[in-house]
């Protein structure tokens, strides 16, 4: 291992600018002649827009224009599209009601925008927005799954009966029925996976600009996937050809899924800029983030596990209702289906599985991918069910897991996936040892002497990452390919620029991808520049989500490097008067096998660009692009062990220890991988203990700011203990699996299993997240009653 290659904890290249205040986030960009947009948003969850009077606002100081949803419709601006078509159990397609960027007739959630005020300053735009008079006819709202599926519920979309967008299934229903019919024991569980609000610390920002001399439209946007935004905005919404539309996503302050999607404000600023002939900028306030960033999770499930008397799993049945919010967000349909139902097998050899998911519209903010996206919901369901089964059968949570672990690979699950590699016993062994699981009962007793209830919880889980093989995704309804591009430009003096279609918003790609180049091409890491986030620079790309950047984008870069080496070998052979077949390449040096003749990549690059003496049939230059389409998903897995102490008098849960042993495949930068684990764990613990989006019955978002949505803060969390056991991914050249979502998938069930364990002798068998003091206290008292 070199000190900057694969496996080295290289300090990050991007840190210098972030640490000195020289990062360039979208709100740091101002364009000449720029105007400011402020959106007029509905205070109602459901209302008819009976009238809109902008007369006074238009006369306010600095106001350039007030533009409405009706004008947008007149201009032929299209609906925000959904990127994944789901089919119902009967084979018919899901309902796809339109999602206008500005509502013209009906508003469907608090925060739905009806108009935009554009003014010379931010303050003028905001003040004038308060002068726009909108005549709302308030209508009854359905603000929860329960309310939306009730008889006679108000319809979110008139032509979507019962508010059901789709009714989907996966697995073999008959085989699962048969498995249950011969079960010795059936465990059942009703659970809620609560709604979360992603809360990247950088609020979303968008700037639209139109240059009439080049007929070029530019959108600066805080996005995780600028190329995808260009595709959706250009081809589906605005009808702009891609060669006349540039999308730039510079430094982005966190995403966690919420910046994947194509948002209304991106359309509004581009449309307004083209109409007004001046750049238009919109910066979300945090309050707007709460009301407009797509939320996450929000499932209600009933699950049943059929077991033999010895604890062998026979069948699993899941019935989930998923909240989509008011509109189909870009990937809102795939999260509760193919990113959720396909993970019902977990780490276990459950031979028969059937899952059904009904997705419902409600008068709330759209719901879409949030760190983990469907897989945390699946892991929580499976791991809670497994723990409950252990309790009911009198087995230990370790024993029941070991008995059912998948331990031969490849393994085809009954829910459409084929796991390629893993060692679930090894990660569990490691986690139990690091957590001193054996010594736990002494600690429980010691805590009891202090009046505390101490519990320990385990979760063993697998996730499907590296999204995704295009042919598989396409067959399942994806409306895009999910490959990635990588370009390696070797400059004449041997330095390298890497262009990637992924996007880094905290993940450290500028370092990790440079390490790949340093490792394979032997180029000094300081001589490698990684470029991302601009549709005019990288040829194409699908962006960053689903732990795909290294697993898909990194392998595209590797493929491009292989092309560089292939071409370089021909040039080097010519330079050294040898046959290309006799030239080997290692760490930046081409060498004639069995001789001391060698030449460097730098000399080969110079020859490629100054080809005075050069192979006759070869093009000059050393600049190669590759597209990598993965053969399969990757399957990171691990074991998390959480130890808690509960104060039964107050219901407060204290996290004593969080221990993880994970298998994320080959690790390029262990420092960055650990950082990804820490962040995922904090968000997973946030879900388990603190966070919950709450709407009241009328559809008002009660948790609409940091005053009442509980974000995990430094003093709420412990330091984490991490272990790693690596099995390589078998189907990509780097052997990598992905790490971004591991913590948020694995840890929530471990936390809740620990809390239930702590309270089990008080009669508690389950509680929903978040395990706030109030909920824990009430659960204890209900169990005692």
């Amino acid at each position: 291992m070199s000190d900057t290659g694969i496996g080295a904890a290289v300090r990050r290249k991007e840190d210098a600018r972030f640490l000195t205040g020289r990062g360039r986030y979208t709100d740091d960009i101002d364009r000449p002649g720029q105007l400011y947009a402020h959106l007029v948003r509905s205070p109602h969850a459901h209302a008819r827009v009976a009238g809109l009077d902008a007369t006074e606002a238009e006369r306010a100081p600095g106001v350039v224009a007030v533009l409405t949803g009706a004008q947008m419709a007149e201009d032929g601006v299209g609906s925000l599209p959904c990127g994944w078509l789901i089919h119902n159990r009967d084979g018919s397609p899901m309902a796809e009601p339109p999602h206008p960027p500005l509502a013209a007739e009906t508003v469907r959630h608090v925060g739905d925008a009806v108009a935009v005020v554009v003014a010379e300053t931010r303050t003028q735009a905001k003040e004038a927005a308060g002068l726009v008079e909108v005549d709302y006819e308030d209508l009854p709202a359905a603000a929860s799954i329960h309310a939306a599926v009730a008889d006679g519920a108000p319809l979110v979309h008139d032509d979507v009966g019962g508010n059901v967008c789709f009714d989907w299934e996966i697995g073999d229903e008959a085989a699962t029925e048969e498995a249950f019919s011969r079960a010795d024991h059936v465990v059942t569980l009703d659970l809620v996976n609560q709604r979360l609000i992603p809360n990247a610390i950088e609020p979303r920002v968008a700037i639209g600009e139109y240059d009439p001399s080049s007929d070029m439209t530019t959108l600066y946007t805080s996005s995780q996937n600028p190329h995808l935004i260009r595709l959706l905005l250009g081809a589906f919404v605005m009808g702009l050809p891609e060669h006349k539309l540039r999308v730039v996503s510079p430094d982005v302050g966190g995403g966690f899924g919420s910046k994947i999607f194509h948002y209304a404000e991106e359309v509004v600023v581009v449309w307004a800029a083209r109409r007004l002939g001046r750049p238009v900028k919109w910066t979300a306030t945090r309050s707007e983030s709460f009301q407009t960033d797509a939320h996450g999770r929000d499932h209600v499930s009933h699950a049943e596990l059929a077991l033999a008397a010895d604890g062998t799993f026979l069948g699993l049945r899941v019935d989930t209702k998923a909240n989509l919010g008011a509109y189909l967000s870009t990937f809102g349909s795939v999260v509760p289906t193919y990113l959720h139902g396909t993970l019902f097998a977990g780490c276990y050899r459950t031979p028969a599985i059937h899952g059904r998911v009904q997705a419902v519209f409600t008068h709330t903010v759209p719901v879409d991918a949030y760190r983990g996206a469907g897989r945390p919901e699946a892991a929580f369901l499976v791991e809670r069910l497994v723990d409950k089964a252990a309790t009911e059968l009198g087995m230990s949570p370790v024993e029941i897991r070991r008995k059912n672990f998948i331990d031969t690979f490849p393994y085809a699950t009954p829910v459409a996936l084929e796991y390629d590699s893993g060692d679930y016993h090894a990660t569990l062994d490691m986690a139990l040892e690091l957590a001193d699981y054996e010594g736990f009962e002494d600690r429980r007793e010691e805590a009891r002497s202090r009046g505390r209830r101490r519990g320990i919880g385990i979760s063993t889980f697998v996730e499907a990452c590296g999204i995704a093989p295009s042919s598989v995704a396409g067959a399942l309804g994806a409306r895009a390919g999910l490959y990635e591009s990588g370009q390696i430009r070797v400059h004449p003096t041997g330095s390298v620029t890497v262009y990637t279609g992924t996007h880094s918003h905290g993940q450290g790609h500028e370092t990790t991808f440079a390490q790949l180049v340093s490792d394979h091409l032997g180029v000094d890491i300081d001589q490698v520049e990684v470029v991302h986030g601009d549709s005019e620079k990288s040829s194409f790309g699908m962006g960053t989500y689903g732990s795909r950047s290294l697993a898909v984008g990194g392998n595209a870069i590797y493929k491009a490097m292989e092309k560089v080496v292939d071409k370089g070998r021909k040039i080097a052979a010519h330079m050294m008067e040898a046959s290309p077949d006799d030239v080997e390449f290692e760490k930046g040096v081409f060498r004639v096998v069995g001789t001391d003749k060698e030449t460097s990549l730098g000399d080969v690059a110079m020859t490629a660009y100054v080809p005075h003496d050069y192979p006759e049939d070869l093009e000059p230059g050393l600049d190669e692009t590759a597209f990598y389409d993965p053969a399969n998903f990757t399957f990171p897995a691990g074991a998390h062990v959480v130890e808690v102490e509960v104060d039964p008098e107050t219901g407060r849960v204290e996290l004593v220890q969080v221990t993880c042993a994970d298998d994320v495949g080959t690790v390029v930068n262990p420092m960055i991988v650990d950082g990804q684990m820490h962040g995922g764990l904090a968000q997973g613990i946030g879900q388990a203990l603190f966070e919950r989006a709450v709407y009241d019955e009328s559809g008002q978002l009660v948790t609409g700011s940091y005053m009442n949505y509980t974000m995990p803060r430094a003093a709420d969390l412990p330091s984490f203990t991490l272990g790693r056991h690596t099995t390589e991914c078998t189907h990509n050249p780097l052997g990598v699996k992905g790490v971004g979502e591991v913590g948020s998938i694995g840890v929530p069930p471990a936390v809740i299993n620990a809390v239930v364990d702590a309270l089990s002798d008080l009669g508690v068998t389950h509680l929903d997240m978040p395990a706030t003091p109030e909920r824990v206290w009430k659960t204890i008292h209900a169990a005692q009653a």
Partner: protein, 157 residues
């Protein structure tokens, strides 16, 4: 509009602002010091933390006119060109940042702690950072960075 004169990163600056202009708006919009970030509208996230006369302050909670005559230090002002302050270096060494958005506020807040405590415990650091939100790091590495940065500063500011 009243002119406000204050010292920012050791340079005297005079700017005309509205009486309602916040210090963070003065820094970002008038002085182009975009290293100070805005992450919320309820003074909860701490991304806008700067030093005012050596004490950490959320620059979204204070009016520009109220800091007239004060010395304000932002993330751009704690190290020379091409250099890192020991606290910045500790954040880099311990991977105490990911997306970088909360980082300036974290560093500025940490400087105030380091001036008060040369060798803060983990609990002290976690308590001190109560007013700064980070969504990326889980705070684990930030805590290590602040502890080491404070030790490296040895009680200096």
């Amino acid at each position: 509009m009243p002119p406000v004169t204050l010292t920012v990163n050791e340079k005297q600056r005079t700017t005309e602002v509205e009486s309602r202009t916040l210090l963070v708006e003065l820094l970002r919009d008038h002085l182009d010091l975009t290293g100070t970030h805005v992450g919320c509208d309820t003074s909860q996230c701490g991304a806008c933390t700067v030093l005012v006369d050596g004490r950490s302050v959320k620059s979204c909670t204070i009016l520009a006119v109220d800091v007239a005559g004060s010395e304000v230090t932002t993330i751009e002002g704690i190290a020379g060109p091409g250099e890192l302050h020991p606290m910045q270096a500790a954040f880099k060494e311990h991977h105490g940042l990911q997306c970088g958005f909360c980082t300036p506020g974290m560093v500025m807040g940490a400087l105030d702690l380091a001036a008060r405590s040369a060798d803060p415990s983990e609990a002290e650091v976690r308590e001190w950072l109560e007013g700064n939100l980070c969504r990326c790091t889980g705070y684990h590495n930030i805590v290590l960075a602040v502890q080491e940065g404070a030790r490296a500063m040895g009680g200096a500011s």
